[in-house]
Symmetry: C2
Subunit: 324 residues, 2 copies
C-alpha cells in the first residue's frame, strides 16, 4: 500500500485485481490502425477504441471496479455521484449490471440525451442548479437519504485502478509502444495509464493532450502545483474538470509532457478520424491526434498509442457542420 | 471446377486459395456487439466491420484476389474497371499494393470525393458521360490502349471467391450463427457468403437485405429469373446495380430469403448503428439492421450475423440531417 499523507494511492496490484473483477462487465476493446493516418503523421499509430465499451466510454472500467468491489451491505445502499457526463452513465450501467441503486446529481441544464442514458441504465437523477454550491448541497442530501457510496469521477483509487486496466490490455494487444497519448481533464485515464505503464513498461512515455481552452493541467504541470479554472469552455466537453490530489500525484510524477490543441484543431482531428478510422468518437477523444498533428517532430518515427476515450456524440449536432 | 455452360463458378477451394493470397493485404476486421441492439431486436447480433478495411469496404477482398492472382506478364499491363463506387477505390488500392497500373472509367458526374480516393491510391481515371453507352465505349478504348485485365465489380469468379473470405473469418470469430444477413446490390458479397457457408456451415441461412427502391434482386428471386432495373434511386447508393449470371447462380441456389426496407427505415437503422455501435458506415450497410427491425419475428431468439459492408460516407451530408 502506497500513501501520501492520508491519501491512498492505488498500486499496480490494485489494477491487476481490478482487471479480474471487471472483466465480465467490460469489453476488451479492439485496437485500430490506419495506413492513411500513419503516412500523414510519419508515426505508427495505434488507436485503443474505448468508445466501443457498451456505455460508450472507458469510464465503465473505473465505475465497474468501484461497484463490484463493494461488500454486500454497502451494495444494498448502492452508489452515488455527481456528473453530467460519461461517468454518470457508466456508473449507472455498472450498478445496473450488479442490480444495485445508483443515484446521480445532475444540473437541470444537462443535455436531455445524457439524462435519457442514465435513466435507460436505471440511474435515479436528482436535478440541481448549475452551480457548485447547489450541486454540493443537493449531493449531500441525496447521499444522506440513500447512504450510497460516493464514487468520484476520477479522484478515487478504485476508479484510477480501473482506468489502468485499459493500458494493460493496450500493451498486450501491441508489441510495445514508445509513447501513449491520452486526453486529460480530471486526469483519471492519464493516472490509470501512468499507474500501469510505470510498472509494466516504464520505458513507454505517457503524454497528456489537453484543449487549449481548458489548459489547467498544462499550466499545473508547468507550475508544479494544481491550478483549477473556474468555468473553461471548449468543444471537448469531457475535459472541463480540474486535477485533484490523486491524479496530480500521477501527473506530476510520471507524465512526460502535456501538449495542447485549439478547438478547431480538435474538430479537424475528430473529422479525420471519423473519415479514416470510421469510428464515432467524441471531441475529447480527438485531442491526442490533434496534438500529434500539431507537433509532428515529437512523434515521427515512433510507435504511438492513442486512447479513444469515448463515443457519445449528438449525431444531430456535429461540430464541423455548425460552422456552415 | 464447377461450371454452368461456359460460366466458371468459383469453388470453396478457390475461396481458401483467395484467403491465403490476400491475407497480407486485408484486415481481419473485428466483430462488434451491442447489448442495446440485442435488447431492441430480441436477437443476438454480430456485426462484421468490413468498413474497417483500409479503403473502407469489403470489396478490397475480391479486388486483391484478382490483382494478386495475375501472372507477371498480365500484371505489367495492370487492371481496369468501370465503377463509381467502392470497387474503383478498392481495386486502385490493391493495384497500388502490388505496384501495377489501375485504370478506372468513371462518369464525370461521380462525386469529387470518390475521384480523389481513386487518385490517392494511384488509379488513373478516364471520365465518361453518365450513360451505359458512353461508359462501355470509353471502357473499350481504355482497355484496348492499356491491355489492363478487366476486373468486374462482382460478376467475376475471382471477386466472388475473394468476398467469400469474409464469411470464413466471421464463422471463425463467432461460435456459429443461425443466419447471416448482408446487403444485396450486384450480389458479390451475398454470392461469396453463399459460396463459403454452403460448405462451411450449410445450416446457417444466408439472407439478403435490399432497398425497397432498388428491389430488383427481390423481384428476381420471386420471379425465378434476373430482373434488371433501369435507374433505381435510393439512399443506399452502393446497391443500385443488377444481378448478373454468376451472382444469380448463388442467389437462386442458396439464398433463403430477401427482405426489403424503405429509405427512411435504412436511414433510421444507420443512425442507430452510429449511435450504439459507434461505427461510421454507409447507408448500404444499414439495410440488414433495417430489415431485422422490420421483421422481428424472423430473427427473434436467433444468432444473427450482419455484414457491415463499407464506411465511405460524406461526413458533410449525413442523410438524417438533410430532412431538417
Amino acid at each position: 500500500m502506497m500513501t501520501e499523507g492520508d491519501m491512498y494511492i492505488p498500486t499496480y496490484e490494485d489494477m491487476l485485481d481490478a482487471h479480474k473483477r471487471i472483466e465480465p462487465y467490460i469489453r476488451r476493446t479492439p485496437v485500430r490502425v490506419s495506413d492513411y493516418l500513419n503516412e500523414l503523421t510519419g508515426a505508427q499509430l495505434f488507436f485503443k477504441c474505448e468508445n466501443f465499451q457498451e456505455p460508450g466510454a472507458f469510464k465503465v472500467r473505473g465505475a465497474a471496479n468501484a461497484v463490484f468491489g463493494l461488500n454486500e451491505d454497502q451494495a444494498k445502499k448502492g452508489v452515488a455521484t455527481h456528473s453530467s457526463g460519461n461517468h454518470a452513465s457508466c456508473l449507472s450501467y455498472a450498478a445496473m449490471r450488479r442490480g444495485i441503486p445508483c443515484n446521480v446529481v445532475m444540473p437541470r441544464t444537462a443535455p436531455q440525451a445524457k439524462k435519457d442514458t442514465v435513466r435507460r441504465y436505471g440511474g435515479n437523477i436528482t436535478e440541481c442548479d448549475p452551480s457548485t454550491s447547489s450541486r454540493e448541497a443537493t449531493f449531500a442530501q441525496v447521499q444522506a437519504a440513500t447512504g450510497g457510496d460516493f464514487v468520484h469521477p476520477y479522484n478515487d483509487p478504485r476508479v484510477i485502478a480501473g482506468q489502468g486496466t485499459c493500458a494493460k490490455e493496450f500493451m498486450e494487444q501491441t508489441d510495445g509502444m514508445d509513447m501513449v497519448v491520452a486526453p486529460i481533464g480530471g486526469g483519471g485515464m492519464i493516472s490509470g495509464t501512468c499507474l500501469t505503464l510505470s510498472t509494466l513498461a516504464p520505458q513507454t512515455q505517457v503524454i497528456a493532450a489537453e484543449p487549449e481552452q481548458a489548459d489547467d493541467a498544462y499550466r499545473s504541470f508547468k507550475a508544479g502545483h494544481i491550478i483549477a479554472d473556474d468555468a473553461p469552455k471548449t468543444i471537448a466537453d469531457g475535459l472541463l474538470v480540474p486535477l485533484k490530489e490523486r491524479t496530480w500525484h500521477f501527473v506530476s510524477t510520471y507524465v512526460s509532457e502535456i501538449y495542447t490543441a485549439s478547438d478547431q484543431e480538435i474538430i479537424d482531428a475528430m473529422k479525420l478520424t471519423w473519415k479514416h478510422l470510421r469510428i464515432v468518437m467524441e471531441p475529447s477523444s480527438a485531442v491526442p491526434l490533434a496534438v500529434i498533428l500539431k507537433n509532428p517532430d515529437a512523434f515521427r518515427g515512433k510507435r504511438v498509442g492513442l486512447i479513444i476515450t469515448g463515443g457519445n456524440v449528438d449525431l444531430d449536432k456535429l461540430p464541423w457542420l455548425n460552422a456552415a
